[in-house]
Symmetry: C2
Subunit: 435 residues, 2 copies
């Protein structure tokens, strides 16, 4: 314990940053014992140093300007918890350029500027660790990078947004509509005042970009894949899902098959008995299917100050060891490109099974015309659910399909929308059966 | 790719050994790409070189004597897949002594001779990796050692024996007794001809010794904790569990609390809605509860040639990187002892809630005498289930308790067994509610 401490500079004293300070206060001695040397939180920067955060900042040198910390040659490691892609990008690049190792929880930054950040880290021999950016406390990036490093990943299905998972869980448990459950999530602090980044799938897409990068060794920009949120999910869909043995979850999906790499974010019906379907409330889980390993799943808290701090500190310990031993680049942060990796599939070429709910007047022949429009595009039907017949008013017609191309389905739905008997836009939800 | 290969010697060509050979043939190019140099399987030893294994051994130098491989200075890494604690111990010690890094899947060896093996590795600067020894393909040891390294583990609950989990899942699905489900497991290759090491909890105890070692930084001999298998579980218990919202799983449990460390293996009733309860068939999962991280769970195939080979190869890659860089001891294999770690709780002092099923003639006052015997030892009752009254024949009386000391329960059950109305030994099963 006589060894010199590794000195850490923390930028950003929001919820996570404050959690990291608190965790280092409570677990610093344990960490020092395990590392063989102390991890010393030496400097902290935040634009707001006045706000009461319920944590004792007396022992730290505080700054308003992050540059003072990045420029301090006595600081070994930088923790970026500013968030966003502006100041965060600037400070991460500056820290890597200065030869410092960096820990970040910033998925938006990595999804948008990953190429630039990783290239600079490689050029400078600096390390960047980002376990907390996906799945909060869950060490899923380590699992992909090291635990499954001998294997080829075939598919990955993740519940990586706790806000959406909480809302969908509540909708199923209470039968209440989306808006009421979002309100409850906001009251409980599971959703922000402006929830759009979570609700519309942006956050899940950023995390998928990182997960797919690790799984396939390629950078996939989140702007390149289809993203669908949960605003349009209604209780009826959750109920129909239940009746055919499924639950609805917002999934981040990445797969490879003969058609290339598919990557997408959307509400998904998954088998009720699957382990992933049992992930409730604000919890996260990622299932990975490998050629050798088969399915593995990683579950835990996707957010929260203490769980996320645990992941940030584990990264700090790894980089502190690297800094102390002088060895860097042990494992590349994104693995390495696989030879012969296929290209990302265009959105319209992505394939899968679908649940489609039509709302139509049940005049004679309507089912035949709808199924005819699907069949004409090669979409074959797995099941039909049409319960009551009310010639005079609109009724739901629920159809599930076998594997189909997205573009074919879209074309068929376009044609069906123009049918006289059809009174509302069709609701289509992906089905992922192999879970 | 011009870099010299790291040369691997494999000892033991059973199911896993053959799986490793096959996986290196199918995934060797990918592994070389990721490492930046090839991992070359140079030599193989097995006492039986004649048996047809369905894999091409043409390219390897074969030996009957493992010593030839351990003594070969050109071999960098040794993979021990012999099993057992005789030859395996000798060869692992010899390899570490020769300065070679070792990969093993041998839980019995590590549970029994862990101290000796890890001490020698540390003394020689050799590394030993053993991800495949617990949870097959699941990178749970990496998660404990690195993913959760900043955290203090409070509790760990694992389904780590696929044979038992398959049998319990089948008993619940079919209502058939243990013997019939064991027979089916044997027919399907999920259970061995002599299943006692699995069925009696020995295998789960060996794995718990390793998991608890990583979780708490202490070596716990499996002989020091209570071990109970699944032979005595009858369909009625599974059915009663279901009626009170639980499922029965064989769990490896390690916890710390004010009473010290508790470690034990036993059939356990866990809440039906918990993620762990959804782990069916031969799959494995380990839930870890940390101070900061909260619950995390790791799920996957606990056995099978390809899944286990994936874990062995991931370890080989880690040790190949260490060998290539010359850096060893980056992370101690068992973490480091925690300062102030409490001692292992004596079996009788271990605490928990219990389900107890009595079989008694339902004469007036029997329930009062049974609950009286429990109450006299401070065991408080959470629920009672007694459905039908047949004064003339024996009926089941099912009681669940609040947290109690094992020794108190044992004493009460001893007294109750001597009661005139009680016609069969009581069946007690642990309840773990916090999952």
């Amino acid at each position: 314990m006589a060894e010199r401490a590794i000195r850490v500079g923390l930028v950003g004293l929001g919820t996570i940053g404050t959690g990291v300070v608190r965790a280092l206060q409570s677990h610093g001695a344990l960490i020092a014992e395990r590392l063989g040397f102390p991890l010393e939180l030496a400097r902290i920067a935040d634009v707001d140093l006045e706000r009461e955060r319920g944590v004792d900042l007396g022992g730290y040198r505080l700054s308003r300007d992050w540059r003072e910390i990045v420029d301090d040659p006595s600081i070994d490691l930088i923790v970026e918890l500013v968030g966003g892609t502006g100041v965060a990008r600037e400070l991460v690049l500056a820290a890597l350029d200065a030869g410092k190792h960096v820990v970040t929880a910033n998925k938006a930054l990595l999804a948008k500027h990953g190429r630039e950040v990783f290239a600079l880290a490689a050029a400078k021999g600096s390390e960047i660790a980002f376990e907390a950016s996906v799945g909060g406390t869950i060490p899923v990036l380590r699992a992909l990078r090291e635990g499954l490093c001998a294997d080829r990943v075939l598919a990955l299905h993740g519940i990586v947004n706790g806000t959406c998972n909480y809302i969908l869980t509540e909708m199923e448990a209470t039968g209440e509509p989306y808006e009421a459950c979002l309100k409850r999530a906001q009251d409980l602090g599971y959703a922000e005042a402006d929830p759009s980044s979570d609700i519309d799938g942006i956050d899940s897409a950023n995390k998928l970009s990182i997960l797919a990068g690790l799984a396939f060794g390629v950078y996939l920009a989140p702007t390149a894949f289809p993203i669908e949120g949960i605003r349009h999910i209604v209780p009826a869909d959750i109920e129909y899902a239940s009746r055919i043995g499924f639950r609805v979850k917002l999934l981040s999906v990445a797969k490879r098959n003969a058609h290339g790499i598919q990557a997408r974010v959307h509400p998904t019906m998954i088998p009720r008995k699957s382990v992933l379907a049992g992930v409730d409330g604000s919890m996260n889980a990622i299932e990975v299917r490998g050629e050798l390993s088969g399915p593995t799943l990683y579950y835990g808290a996707g957010a929260g100050a203490a769980p996320t701090a645990s992941a940030v500190l584990a990264d700090l310990m790894e980089l502190a060891r690297a800094r102390r031993s002088g060895a860097s680049g042990r494992v590349p942060p994104f693995g390495t490109p696989e030879p012969g990796m296929a290209a990302l599939c265009a959105p319209g070429d992505q394939r899968g099974e679908f649940y489609v709910r039509f709302t139509a007047h049940d005049s004679p022949g309507v089912l035949s015309r709808i199924t005819g429009a699907l069949g004409a595009r090669g979409i074959s039907i797995a099941s039909v659910l049409q319960e009551e017949r009310h010639e005079s008013r609109a009724v739901p017609i629920v159809i599930t399909t076998h594997e189909s191309r997205q573009a074919d389905l879209d074309a068929a739905l376009g044609e069906i929308a123009r049918m006289r008997e059809v009174v509302a836009p069709a609701q289509s939800i992906r089905i992922e059966r192999e879970l």
